[in-house]
Symmetry: C2
DNA sequence: GGTACTTTATTTAGTACTGAACAAAGAGGT
DNA sequence: ACCTCTTTGTTCAGTACTAAATAAAGTACC
C-alpha cells in the first residue's frame, strides 16, 4: 500500500482546500480541484476511513440532491510557524485548519554567533509541548531574501545574516520539512488563506512599519518574481532627490513614509523633540494636534499615489494594509484615500482597501501556512519539501485503519 | 480511437514546447513538461506515426547515450493572427513553429457600423489563400479590454467598440477557435515565445506609442490580473497636478510621455510650430537640436523612474521596450538609463533592458501565438477554446497513419 | 400526486500515466 | 581492453484518473 507522489498530491489538495474553504461537498471539491467526481468518491472514502476527514451535516438543496459536507478532523495534523525579527521571535502552532492553537513570544538576539543554536533550543522547547498528534513541518518567516527556497539560505541585513543555510540547519535538527520565506510573503499567504484576501485570487498585501513592503497574490498564489524579491514597493521612487534610503537611492517610498522618516520629519518641523519617538507623535495626532496629524496625512498621500501605480499595474481585487503603521491609519487615511482614488484608472477606482490591526501572531501563522500550502508545487521552489509534507500527511492516518481502507477498495 | 481531453493536452504540450524551444530530445521533453520518460516514449511514437514530428540528428553526448532530437513537421498546422487598430488591420499566417509565413496590411475603419462584417470579409480573403494544410485557429489583438476571454467581448474606446462580442462573431463566421486578447498581452506572449523574453519566466514588455502599456510575463505566462487590466503602467502617477490624462486623472505617465504629450510639450517650448508633428521633432533631435533632444531625454527620465518602481515591484529578469516610441530611443536613453538604474534596488540594478525596433508584424504574430499557447489552460480563461484547438491538432494527422499507430501500440 | 428537471454521489469499464528495471550508447579512467 | 559512470530511451506491471451510465434525493410545476 505504498502511495505514489501523485496520489498524495490530490489527497493533500483535498485536505488543504477544506482547510481553507471550510466544509465542502464532494461535488464542489471535484469542481474546484479540477478532477472528476468519481475520483473524489474514492479519495474521500479513503480519507474517511483513515480518520482525516468526517461527514458533517447536509447542505440545503438548491433543486437537487442535497450535498453532504465534509470537514477536517481538526487534530489530523499541525504545523509550527516562526516569525524571526532582530530582537525576538514569535512561535505558533496551528491545526490543519490553520487556526492558531497556541503561541509564544521569546526574546532573541539575532546578531549573536550562536543565534541559530538559540533558535533551535527555543523551538525545541515549544515543539516538545506540542498538542498536535503529528507535526507536518516548520515554516519560518524572515525579514530578508531567501536565495534558494529548497535549501533555505537566508540573506537578511536586518538580522545581520548572510548566506546562512537556516533551512538546512533546522531540517537537520528536527528531521521535519522546513520552509523558509520572506515575512511579507508569509503574511500574504496567511491573508490569502484565512484573512481579508480569502476568496480573492489577486490581492495586494501591504505592510507599513520600519520598512514598507508588499506581498503579491497573483492567480491564487504568492508571486515571488525572478530572484524572489518581488513586492519591494518600499523602493518605488517618489520624491526626486528626496531623503537617502537604506538601499542607496534617494526619495524611495520607504525613505519618506517609513517610521524613521516620519520621526525625522516631525523633529525637523519641531513637532517632536530630539528624544521623543513615533508613539508620541501618534498620541499628539490622536489628541488633535494638527501638525502631527498633517505628518501622517502627508505620508498617506504619498502612499496613496504609489499604491495607485501598483494597483494599476497589478490589477488586484483588494488591497490589504497592515503592520505597525496601520495603527495610526485613521490619520494616514485623510491623505491616502483621495490620493489613491484620484490616481487609479476608472476600472479600479472602487477597489476595496481593508486595514487590519496589527497582530504579531498573524506573521507566524503565515509562516505555518507555508507548510500547509506548499505540498503542491511538486518539483517547484521548495524542492522535495512538498513531497515530504505529503508523505507525513499520508502517514498521519491510524495504521490500523489503513487495512480497512485496502479491503474497502477491493 | 477517440482521444480524451487529457491525452490531447500533453500531446499539444509536446508540440508547443518543440515549437517554442526548437528540436528537443525525449528526455528533455519529459523533464520540461514534468512527465515520465516512459510516457514520452509512447507519445512521440504516436506523433511520429501521425507525421506531426520527425526524428532529426543526434545531439552530441555529454557522458552518456546521445540524445535523438525531435523536430516539428512545419506544415503540421498553422494559425492566423490579426492586429486591429483604428484605421487598419495587419494579418499574418504563422506555422506551428511560430514563424510568420505571410502577412498583409489592409486599410480598415473601425468606427463604421459594418466594421465587423468588413473585418470578416478581409479575413476570409486572407484565409482562402492559406498555405497551411490545417488552420488551428484565429487570434485577435485589440487595443482595449476583453471582458470574458471565452466569449471575446471587446471594450475599446480607441476603436469605439463597446460590449462587442467579436470572438463569438468570428467563431460563427469561420467555425474556428477564436481567441481575442489585449494587444499588449498578445505582444508579450510573442516576446516570451520567440522574442527577447524567450527563456525568461519573468519579463516586462513595455510599449511606448500613442499610449504607454506593459505586458507582464509572470512565472512563464501572461499575467492579466483580476479584471484583465493588469499592465496599465500608463496610468502610474508621476507629476502631481500634471497634464490631464484620458483616464480623467492628472499627471499619469501616459499623459506626460505619450506621443501627444511630447508634441504638446514641444509646441509649448517653441520647438515645434502648431502644425508640425512628432516626426519632425525626431528629425530635429536626430540632426542635433538640443531642445528637441531634451524633450526626449526628459521623457526617458520620467519613464525610467516609473519603470524602476514597476521592476522593484515585479522583479522581472529582463525589460523589453518597443512600440513607435522606441524608434527615437537613442534620445530617450540619455534620460532613461541613469534614472532607471539609480532608482532600482541593488539586486535589480543590473537588469538588462532590450529595445526592439517596431514591427507591425510582431503584434499580429503575438495574436497568432495565442492560438498556439492557449491549448493548456483547460477550463481556464479561454473556456473550451483550448480543447477545441487540441482537437484540431489531433485531427491534423493523416487518417491513414492513425491505423498504423493503433496497431503499433497493441 | 405524478412528471420533468437539478444536483449529488457511486459504480464500472477503460484510458493516461508512473516507477522501476533494463537495454543502449557513449565518456573517462586505469 | 576493461571497468565505472552517465545519460538516453524502452518495456512492463500497476496505479491514478476519467467518462458515462446510474442511483439517490431533492425542487418546481401542473
Amino acid at each position: 500500500m505504498q502511495s505514489s507522489a501523485r496520489t498524495d498530491m490530490t489527497r493533500s489538495a483535498v485536505l488543504t482546500f477544506i482547510g481553507s474553504h471550510g466544509p465542502t461537498s464532494r461535488a464542489d471539491l471535484a469542481r474546484s480541484l479540477g478532477v472528476s467526481p468519481a475520483l473524489m468518491t474514492q479519495l474521500t472514502k479513503d480519507l474517511l476511513n483513515e480518520g482525516l476527514i468526517s461527514e458533517l451535516e447536509y447542505s440545503p438543496s438548491r433543486g437537487g440532491r442535497p450535498a453532504r459536507l465534509l470537514g477536517l478532523v481538526v487534530d489530523a495534523g499541525g504545523a509550527i510557524g516562526v516569525k524571526v525579527v532582530a530582537d525576538h521571535i514569535t512561535v505558533v502552532e496551528v491545526g490543519i485548519t490553520g487556526t492558531v492553537l497556541r503561541s509564544a513570544t521569546e526574546p532573541f538576539d539575532a546578531s549573536t554567533m550562536t543565534a541559530v543554536e538559540t533558535l533551535i533550543g527555543l523551538l525545541r522547547i515549544f515543539i516538545n509541548s506540542s498538542v498536535s498528534t503529528r507535526l507536518l513541518g516548520i515554516g519560518v518567516a524572515i525579514p530578508g531574501n531567501i536565495d534558494e527556497q529548497s535549501v533555505g539560505t537566508v540573506e537578511s541585513t536586518q538580522l545581520g545574516w548572510s548566506r546562512l543555510p537556516l533551512g538546512a540547519r533546522l531540517r537537520e535538527a528536527f528531521d521535519l520539512p522546513v520552509l523558509v520565506d520572506n515575512n511579507v510573503n508569509a503574511l500574504a499567504a496567511a491573508e490569502a488563506l484565512y484573512g481579508q484576501a480569502k476568496g480573492h485570487a489577486n490581492a495586494l498585501v501591504v505592510t507599513i512599519g520600519t520598512g514598507v513592503g508588499a506581498g503579491i497574490i497573483a492567480d491564487g498564489v504568492v508571486f515571488r518574481g525572478h530572484s524572489g524579491v518581488a513586492g519591494e514597493i518600499g523602493h518605488i521612487p517618489t520624491i526626486e532627490n528626496g531623503p537617502l534610503c537604506q538601499c542607496g537611492g534617494h526619495g524611495c517610498l520607504e525613505a519618506v513614509i517609513g517610521q524613521q522618516a516620519l520621526v525625522d520629519q516631525a523633529r525637523k518641523r519641531g513637532v517632536l523633540t530630539g528624544s521623543e519617538t513615533l508613539g508620541v507623535l501618534r498620541d499628539r495626532a490622536d489628541s488633535g494636534d494638527p501638525d502631527a496629524q498633517k505628518i501622517f496625512a502627508e505620508a498617506g498621500h504619498l502612499l496613496g499615489r504609489a499604491l495607485a501605480g501598483v494597483v494599476n499595474t497589478l490589477d488586484p481585487e483588494v488591497v490589504i494594509i497592515l503592520g505597525e503603521g496601520a495603527e495610526s491609519w485613521q490619520h494616514w487615511m485623510y491623505g491616502f484615500e483621495p490620493a489613491l482614488r484620484s490616481c487609479l484608472v476608472p476600472a479600479k477606482r472602487g477597489i476595496p482597501v481593508a486595514v487590519e490591526s496589527w497582530q504579531d501572531d498573524r506573521w507566524a501563522q503565515g509562516a505555518a501556512c507555508l507548510v500547509l500550502t506548499t505540498p503542491f508545487d511538486e518539483q517547484g521552489l521548495s524542492g522535495d519539501q512538498g513531497q515530504w509534507i505529503r508523505r507525513r500527511l499520508a502517514k498521519s492516518a491510524q495504521p490500523g485503519a489503513a487495512d480497512v481502507t485496502t479491503k474497502a477498495r477491493q
